[in-house]
């Protein structure tokens, strides 16, 4: 064994190999981390000065940007939407795939199970841009399948993209539609890894199918469920930008139920060109995200050290 305290030729070679990736991490993840102080600055790009000099030279304004942000009703609405949707996604994102994975593992026909699983995995490989067109084909006000059907039945048409009351359901359903196949694959892999003798023992003890699920399958899946839970709780302040931006087709009429922090940050940066608003919202997102993932992990580590993520 080589001594760990000295930097050997072997270490130098390994360092050299990994150098490009190290540089990538510094440029694309660590540099932006320091750029986060922009939220506490009144940032103005100085003429003929590099971005970093402008950033350093612009005035510190303390929490002024945050005060302005929270003076707008947008701030509360996007917080509510982000946390609300994520809470629903986290619960459904564990309950539904686990249930379906257990169900599909019970099918008599392996071929049917395999085919259905493949089909249900498809949406995972599609981008939200594409999915937004899928949805549009059904919901378009004048051409969509649903409205055309309503029309032929003599019912009133629904202006889907202008009516906020449908959107919470649409977004939740669509998110499930896109992610459930992936979740199912993860849990199915967990189920196939369970030692069959556990089930045999349960059968000899006279356990019914439901009891087997409750006392064998679920406890064995618990570690995966906990890791998926921590990961999603850690991302409770971030949302899938494509889902909330492309799917509602950026419709202003339904913004109260579709605007999340990510969408707001993007719009404030690009269309409103307001760096103060967008950087303070992005700052809160990063900090709260960090706090939630470490807290969730800490709690899990207290209860069950084996299941924690780190």
């Amino acid at each position: 064994m080589k001594s760990k305290s000295r930097f050997t030729r072997n270490d130098a070679e390994l360092l050299l190999i990994s150098l490009p990736t190290v540089i990538w991490y510094v440029l694309f993840t660590y540099l932006p981390m320091f750029g986060i102080i922009i939220a506490f600055k009144n940032f103005r790009p100085l003429p003929k000065a590099s971005f970093i000099t402008s950033l350093i030279k612009s005035d510190w304004v303390g929490i002024q940007n945050f005060k302005f942000l929270f003076a707008t009703p947008d701030a509360w609405i996007m917080m509510r939407n982000t946390l609300g949707y994520n809470a629903v996604f986290i619960v459904l994102g564990i309950v539904v795939p686990v249930t379906l994975a257990i169900m599909i593992s019970q099918l008599y026909s392996q071929k049917l199970a395999k085919t259905c699983q493949t089909a249900m995995f498809l949406p995972h490989f599609l981008s939200w841009v594409v999915v937004s067109y899928f949805l549009f084909a059904f919901l378009s006000t004048d051409k969509g399948l649903i409205n055309k059907t309503l029309e032929s039945m003599g019912r009133d048409l629904i202006t889907w993209y202008a009516d906020p009351k449908y959107w919470p359901y649409i977004l939740v359903l669509l998110n499930m539609w896109k992610s459930v196949g992936y979740g199912m694959v993860v849990y199915l892999a967990g189920i196939s890894g369970i030692d069959q003798s556990l089930y045999e023992a349960a059968i000899i003890d006279g356990a019914t199918k439901l009891q087997q699920v409750k006392h064998v399958t679920l406890p064995m899946l618990k570690p995966i469920m906990i890791i998926m839970f921590i990961l999603s709780v850690g991302r409770i302040f971030s949302t899938d930008f494509g889902l909330f931006y492309n799917i509602p087709r950026n419709s202003g009429a339904i913004i109260d139920v579709t605007q999340t922090i990510d969408v707001y940050v993007y719009k404030a940066l690009m269309s409103m060109n307001n760096i103060g608003f967008s950087s303070s919202a992005a700052f809160l997102q990063s900090i709260f995200g960090f706090i939630t993932i470490t807290t969730a992990n800490l709690i899990v580590r207290k209860i069950d050290p084996e299941s924690s993520l780190f």
Partner: protein, 311 residues
């Protein structure tokens, strides 16, 4: 009864432990329904793309159009200057991104898999911290455009999404289990440097893992539109990848319809199969994925399961 049960048990626990037949039928129906729910929208969009403009105008998007037509694809072919170019941008960034991504992720994955490496703990931390904390969109955007000068370059479509800590962990776990330290050490005794070992030994025997990550990268790049939306301005439309053209063709068609009455006659407007054009473009974007992923599925699944191993 007891005797009967014992007999069944020996003839196959699995057979005995099956759900009842009605339950199986119910479950099968549920899954057939769910599978159809994922496939039907795709089929629907394909049908719309082959519907004539006339049909769409009269009965809207329908599973049974009044008239079939290739005019949407004809029109896209006429637009090949724009669409073809974007197709090349998509393919180019996908290929280049996959190669660069594989290189960057696998080198770090390999280095982290070597227990003897003095900086192993530091580098593990280096890739771990960004999983917990990120600079957020604003500062990332400003750094990439102002400091790294990536705006309106192809690099902007490739580099920001080339590396992922998740991919590195998957590869590291794979290297740890398949490439024993003794193998590396014996090669070193033969005079090989780590670079030689990485390129001549590690890469060839790690093809399954590289295929997995390569596929993740390929599908990721093919589906990516966010970097284009952020970093490519509308003055550089020739650099749009297909996914982003799909997003913005919507705007241009919308624009055309909104202003049509001032620009062209209703007759001319009707002749453009605009409703089916969008869907034809969706089909062009989706079809390569939909046709190929069933064959690659097993690599994805193996990647997901390796990734689940904690480290």
């Amino acid at each position: 009864m007891a005797k009967n049960r014992k007999k069944v048990l020996t003839s196959g626990v699995e057979r005995f432990n099956r759900v009842s037949l009605p339950t199986n039928i119910l479950f099968s129906l549920i899954f057939i329904l769910l599978a159809l729910l994922t496939v039907i929208p795709l089929i629907f969009v394909i049908i719309v793309s082959f519907s004539s403009a006339e049909s769409v105008r009269k009965i809207g998007y329908s599973f049974v159009p009044l008239e079939w037509s290739l005019s949407a694809y004809q029109y896209l072919w006429d637009l090949r200057q724009i669409v073809g170019r974007s197709f090349m941008v998509s393919i180019g960034t996908t290929v280049a991104g996959t190669i660069i991504g594989l290189f960057l992720n696998s080198t770090m994955g390999y280095v982290l898999s070597r227990r003897s490496f003095a900086l192993r703990r530091h580098f593990t931390l280096l890739i771990f911290i960004p999983m917990l904390f990120s600079g957020g969109l604003v500062s990332t955007y400003l750094i990439n455009t102002q400091v790294l000068k990536l705006g309106n370059t192809y690099w902007a479509l490739i580099l920001p999404i080339a590396v992922s800590s998740f991919y590195i962990i998957v590869l590291r776990t794979f290297f740890q289990t398949t490439i024993p330290d003794s193998l590396v050490e014996s090669a070193q005794i033969d005079g090989a440097s780590q670079l030689t070992i990485y390129s001549r030994i590690v890469m060839p025997i790690s093809l399954p893992a590289l295929a997995t990550i390569g596929l993740f990268l390929t599908f990721g790049y093919w589906n990516s539109w966010f970097p284009a939306m952020l970093y490519i301005q509308s003055s550089h439309q020739h650099m749009y990848p297909l996914q982003y053209v799909l997003m913005s063709i919507e705007k241009s068609i919308q624009f055309l319809t909104d202003n049509a009455q001032f620009l062209i006659t209703q007759e001319a407007l009707r002749s453009i199969p605009q409703e089916s054009i969008r869907m034809a473009l969706v089909v062009i974007v989706v079809l390569p994925i939909a046709c190929s992923y069933p064959f690659f599925q097993k690599y994805f699944i193996s990647g997901l399961t390796i990734g689940a191993v904690k480290g």
